[in-house]
Amino acid sequence: MSFGTSVRGDFVMAAKTVTLRIYRTIGKMKGTSNYDEFEVPIQRWTTVLDGLLYAKSYLDSSIGIRYSCRMASCGSCGMKINGTPRLACYTKFSELNTSLIICEPLGNFPIIRDLVTDFSQFFKHHKNLEPYIQNKSADIDNKKDLSWFRQTPEDVDKYLQFSYCIKCGLCYSACPSVATDSKFPGPQALAQEYRYFSDSRDDASKKRLNLVDTNHGIWRCHFAGSCSKVCPKGVDPALGIQLMRGHLMKFSKSSMKKAKLEFIHSDDYSGTDG
């Protein structure tokens, strides 16, 4: 890092500067790309997203970048920063310990433009594994009867960690199995499958095991652990995948205790609204 006056000298006086080297695509020609470099001023707390937005605001407005919440909640600003998948809003320049920051689009995702990638395959894999609670006993569709599940805090602890997934795609980008098998659902989708599998309100355990027990399914995971390493929310997809595999091979308890479903009949609550 070097000291110097930024392009917007009135904005940050004598700040440290770093070089942002950003992957750029040229037009719609496939395989053509280059890197543009920008000097951006930083403070101790400046995030890579701040730096990118500075470059976009004052140096080159054509930089393609996707972001939203700026606080690691939406998962929009995932990109490779110095070769590792990270959220730009969650990565400070000061923690990278280098004056050259290389920003590239997430690997294993088709590139739309510059740092913006196409998540449609990723979401398709997610959707294919039916990531929602399925319970035939609950009157979800008709809503004639109110029903609720009684869960203990211990029941919640079994899946809560996996429900923190923000679908940022960092795990999908880091996974070496995804890199060579486009049909492999990837760590995100498989961890979500375990999230619903381990939820005591769900009664589709057998169906869920069958969904992942395929040639390109859960067996393609070789436990490189990179998904858990890069996850910005502590979800630990590798754990979910291995635990689910334990259930598939019947080394873990297959009959998990189910939450008690209780009904409140319409007669009991109809008079309470008025």
Partner: protein, 157 residues
């Protein structure tokens, strides 16, 4: 409502391989910790042992050609380069076996810890100290096995 549902449907186009990292990801052990190094070594040693296994079958099958053919085949490993190759076989098979035993347990969901409520700074329980120790033990065992191989093959007497 029906239209809205239709619009919400995800595209069903065939899966694209655009920007997939491919074998480059398999061959990159850096930046993701010890577990990725272990993955990389397990793959490399696996491929190496497969090649060795094919060579070994060819070598041992040469005995059907008679004692002369068998002896000339054995001479191939009685050179310094042949000895180095055998030491590599010893090291890779030791690492692959020891690390493989660790992986069998992890694939059965054992030794990974339990799901819990993650607190910042996050430390994934599947990448716990037991797993790292398993990788180091496999590496140390492989190193000792190779040293023993050096002593046997290059040692005096």
């Amino acid at each position: 409502m029906e239209n809205a549902k239709k619009n919400m449907k995800f595209s069903t186009h065939s899966v694209s391989n655009e920007n997939r990292e491919g074998l480059k990801a398999w061959l990159n052990p850096f930046g993701y910790g010890w577990e990725r190094v272990s993955y990389w070594l397990q793959r490399l040693t696996g491929v190496f042992l497969l090649i060795y296994f094919v060579g070994h079958v060819i070598e041992t099958s040469s005995i059907i050609g008679g004692p002369d053919v068998w002896n000339s085949m054995l001479q191939l490993t009685q050179t310094p380069a042949g000895h180095l190759f055998l030491i590599l076989v010893i090291g890779t098979s030791t690492f692959h076996s020891a690390n493989g035993i660790r992986l069998i347990f992890t694939h059965l969901g054992k030794g990974l810890g339990e799901p819990g409520r993650p607190d910042y700074p996050y430390s994934p329980s599947s990448l716990n100290y037991r797993q790292k120790s398993g990788i180091w033990v496999a590496l140390i065992l492989a190193a000792f096995a190779m040293l023993f191989g050096v002593q046997v093959l290059f040692g005096k007497g």
